[in-house]
């Protein structure tokens, strides 16, 4: 397979417009970011939009918005819209990014260092 580039090229604007119903994601931030972990609280049900159902199925184990975007071959902004829908219906839960106020907590940095040293 010639990589995922081909698939991305096929993601034409019209298709994305249909999936989101013309809504656009908040690319400036908001509560959902690239590494917000999404976890399903339910299983897919009949009548769900296919993309919604796929996300619910995919997120039985926690998955970041970036990973959902990669597996669905949809832009992050589109995935953000879809995940926001699912959050509103309590079908998924969002586990928030560790907020960085100004600088991260030393304890968080130490945890990451320990993890990296095990590699």
């Amino acid at each position: 397979m010639s990589g995922s580039d081909k698939v991305w090229d096929d993601a034409d604007p019209e298709r994305l417009y249909v999936i989101t119903g013309g809504r656009s994601g908040d690319s400036q931030g908001g509560s959902i970011g690239l590494v917000t972990l999404i976890v399903s609280q339910s299983v897919p049900t009949a009548g769900m939009q296919p993309e919604h159902a796929t996300i619910v199925r995919m997120c039985q184990a926690p998955l970041s918005v970036a990973e959902i975007s990669a597996y669905l071959h949809l832009p992050v902004s589109v995935v953000t819209v879809l995940v926001t829908d699912l959050l509103a219906e309590s079908r998924v839960e969002a586990r928030a990014l560790v907020a960085r106020a100004q600088l991260p907590e030393p304890s968080l940095i130490e945890a990451v260092m320990h993890g990296l040293q095990k590699l």
Binding site: R57, A66, L103, H114
Partner: protein, 226 residues
């Protein structure tokens, strides 16, 4: 116009990580392989951004330390012709997509680290808002043959207040500058670490990340240098 919104989920165009299950009645399964699933205990994620010009080794670095095969996500550029020379066809296609490769390292049962590679050229800076929001810091991956890209990136990171380290990827045939010469060339303050690395090697890439974390730690426990 094509309204079949699930076209890209069909087996024919399935990408990495997509497993097609046989039989017309069976739905295509899209998502991570079982072994790539995070534990249910994963509650928080942090990210580090790897910035550098084309071909400098961002994806190589991400791939060498990632526990999953690097994935590709994308963002859509909707502003008309931002720094893009070729505008032929703009009237037909109103958006351009830019791919970002990323990888993942499980730090412990609760914490996950994501690494995003992003192109450093100015025309891709529109990606940076979402990318750097909440990021721990950045690694500027430098090709000593093309310092000018790094120069712009470093200025931009300083403007945004993103802490970063500079990593020199060892290339065949790239000039081997002494660190202090590079520091002068890149106009870097003394406190910003410069490290050499071989992005193909897991241990070397890990050490780059560790030097960023040590630097962040020093910033977190001592007042920011003025």
């Amino acid at each position: 116009m094509d309204f079949k919104s699930s076209d890209s989920l069909s087996p024919g165009t399935a990408g990495p990580g997509t497993v097609a299950m046989g039989g017309p009645a069976t739905r295509t399964v899209v998502g991570p392989r079982t072994e790539d699933a995070l534990p249910a205990s994963a509650t928080a994620a942090v990210k580090i951004v790897i910035v550098g010009g084309f071909g400098v080794g961002k994806t190589t670095l991400v791939g060498s330390v990632s526990e999953i095969r690097p994935l590709t996500t994308e963002e859509t550029m909707t502003q008309a012709g931002v720094g893009v020379d070729d505008v032929v066809g703009v009237e037909r296609k109103t958006s351009t997509t830019v791919a970002m490769d990323f990888g993942r390292i499980s730090i412990n049962d609760e914490l996950v680290l994501y690494l995003f590679g992003t192109p450093g050229q100015q025309r891709f800076w529109f990606l940076w808002n979402g990318l750097f929001q909440g990021a721990l810091g950045a690694v500027v991956l430098v090709d000593t043959r093309r310092l000018e890209v790094s120069f712009d990136v470093i200025g931009r990171l300083e403007e945004r207040g993103v802490p970063f380290v500079v990593a020199i990827n060892s290339f065949m045939g790239a000039p081997d500058y002494p660190t202090e010469e590079l520091r002068t060339a890149l106009d870097l303050p003394d406190y910003v670490p410069i490290v050499a690395c071989d992005a193909r090697k897991r241990s070397s890439s890990r050490d780059v990340l560790l030097s960023l974390m040590r630097y962040l730690h020093s910033l977190a426990v001592t007042p920011e240098p003025s």
